[in-house]
Symmetry: C2
């Protein structure tokens, strides 16, 4: 609920490869009603440079337009999930049961988190793409969503103080 400063440190700063308004266009193209609240939330998700939890999403949305409630945040996140437009993470439960959300980029990335300082870094790899192909082939599954989270001690936290 309250923000935890120790975990604000995400160096993620992922570049948003999409043009602005990507999510709004996606939903529009699917004939989904675009309400005032939804536009605000889509904008928040579209411009976020890192994963956010429901509370952070609510706060950012209310800064743009106070007429957005928590319930609508959850309902809209659910809508986006059902359409495969956002990913849901929990970062190895490092910070309790909170879930995080981020707009689904063109390529999957792995979340690499330090279990001590909480810094989260995103990592892309061709090897990951190969692994997914192998899984798809060997398990006979048509993959729609993947999530990889790695925890450990980062270089800084291993350094003797």
């Amino acid at each position: 609920m309250s923000a935890t400063p120790a975990h604000r440190v995400s160096t993620g700063e992922r570049i948003n490869h999409e043009l602005p308004g990507h999510l709004e266009r996606e939903l529009g193209a699917r004939g989904i009603r675009l309400t005032r609240q939804r536009r605000v939330l889509l904008q928040v998700m579209d411009t976020a440079r890192r994963h956010l939890d429901a509370d952070e999403i609510l706060q950012r949305a209310q800064k743009l337009d106070p007429r957005v409630t928590r319930v609508t945040v959850y309902r809209t996140l659910d809508l986006l999930k059902r359409h495969g437009l956002i990913d849901e993470l929990d970062l190895l439960h490092l910070r309790g049961d909170r879930h995080f959300y981020e707009s689904h980029g063109p390529r999957d990335h792995i979340h690499v988190a330090c279990i001590r300082c909480g810094k989260v870094r995103e990592f892309e790899s061709e090897l990951y793409e190969q692994l997914k192909s192998q899984i798809s082939r060997d398990c006979g599954i048509e993959i729609t969503v993947t999530r990889t989270e790695v925890g450990g001690l980062c270089a800084d936290c291993r350094k003797p103080r």
Copy 2:
């Protein structure tokens, strides 16, 4: 299933590679007090052939000894997590916010879940090991825990009925 020796596909019924009593010995070796309740819970986790949620663990424990409460389940799971002896999953939130737990085997495996029928199978791959090495090297992180979950439509669910 596949004859390729580089990886192995298993169904949900993972074989427990450890000798019975593995967890109990691990904790004992670390000088941790072994109470009646803990012994029961360790046995449940040791003999489970698939990931269980907190409620399933409680039920199995109470079948062995009714004097185990839900609170103790959570506290013991937390203990095992802190000692890195079990893994915690949420299987892509396919089944709500429930968490699942399984005793940590000698080698990581990926959970591959069908988003329609909910079947979960485990998958090991040399490629996965390589990927982890790459992450460790490139991110400068000393990996202690990893989790990969893949969702999609399994072969059966893709078949026209």
